[in-house]
Symmetry: C2
């Protein structure tokens, strides 16, 4: 696929962003390319477009599929797999957050719970340290709970909330601001 300078700029930037967030640059570039592409692309075309090895594309696509960000389709009269990603930004972000939660937050919660559990019979660990761990567990639990609930709402409600922004505060029962 021939890239215009605009497309190239976009893809390169996305690659950079990827690295900042712990995602392999090529993986992020492929994702960006597929996001822009009006049609699903076969692996060899991706390799050619981005000037990376075919094998690298293969590995990266597997990674993107593991993230549920890329899916396979087929084109009539072509034996090759073709790859595409959703063009719905909301869906894309939701998927990324869900996967990160599954891969990173959930194991962290598990560890924190284990820590809190073990600390009962642990007289080596200072009291203050135990408190810190407990409050981190409480906080992350609350935040992920919020997130799960919001994600379970119908898309239209989510969109309403997003559009409302801070105006949502208007709808809250009055005394809201009264706290320590």
């Amino acid at each position: 696929m021939k890239l215009s300078p605009l497309m190239e700029k976009f893809i390169l930037h996305w690659g950079e962003m990827g690295t900042r967030w712990g995602v392999n640059r090529t993986v992020a570039q492929i994702h960006a390319l597929l996001y822009l592409s009006p049609r699903p692309l076969p692996a060899d075309e991706i390799a050619e477009t981005l000037s990376v090895a075919r094998s690298n594309v293969s590995t990266s696509l597997k990674e993107l599929q593991a993230w549920r960000l890329v899916s396979v389709t087929h084109v009539l009269g072509d034996r090759r797999d073709h790859f595409r990603t959703t063009s719905d930004m909301w869906e894309m972000i939701a998927t990324i957050i869900e996967e990160r939660k599954r891969r990173e937050i959930d194991p962290t919660l598990a560890l924190l719970r284990q820590c809190v559990d073990e600390m009962q019979h642990d007289d080596e660990t200072p009291k203050e340290v135990k408190e810190r761990i407990k409050s981190m567990l409480a906080f992350i639990t609350m935040l992920t709970g919020w997130f799960d609930q919001i994600m379970a709402l119908p898309r239209s409600t989510q969109r309403t909330l997003l559009k409302l922004g801070a105006k949502i505060a208007r709808f809250l029962p009055q005394e809201t601001a009264a706290e320590k």
Copy 2:
């Protein structure tokens, strides 16, 4: 500072998490150590505790300060700098998100705006591609707008919203669910 097995486990996990999110492992470990520590720690104590070079600690602490996650204090009768991080999880997360926004989202928005600007006189880039870039810009603009507004609310309101979770939908004007 002597680490109990519990503390060690926590710090190692945090280091791993860091690497997943594009943060240097040592930087994340130091952050974790300071989070747990009941008192501010001097750099050499951090180095000793985590078994890394003093110079590495120095660099990492600078990094953490650049992220506004760590600050310097002094202890009476000690010429060394002592370092601490907030123990308020909400504040910590807010800082991390704000910094990431400043470093990564804002430049991305700038790039997207530039792309949208340039695409007017660009006949090399397919129409569909232009649309994708526009809708990404629209989406990120909306999301960061929401975030900025929520962050500007008083802490107590934020806490109320967080606690409410999906129940917030109850307070919305009725017809909410009516959309495409």
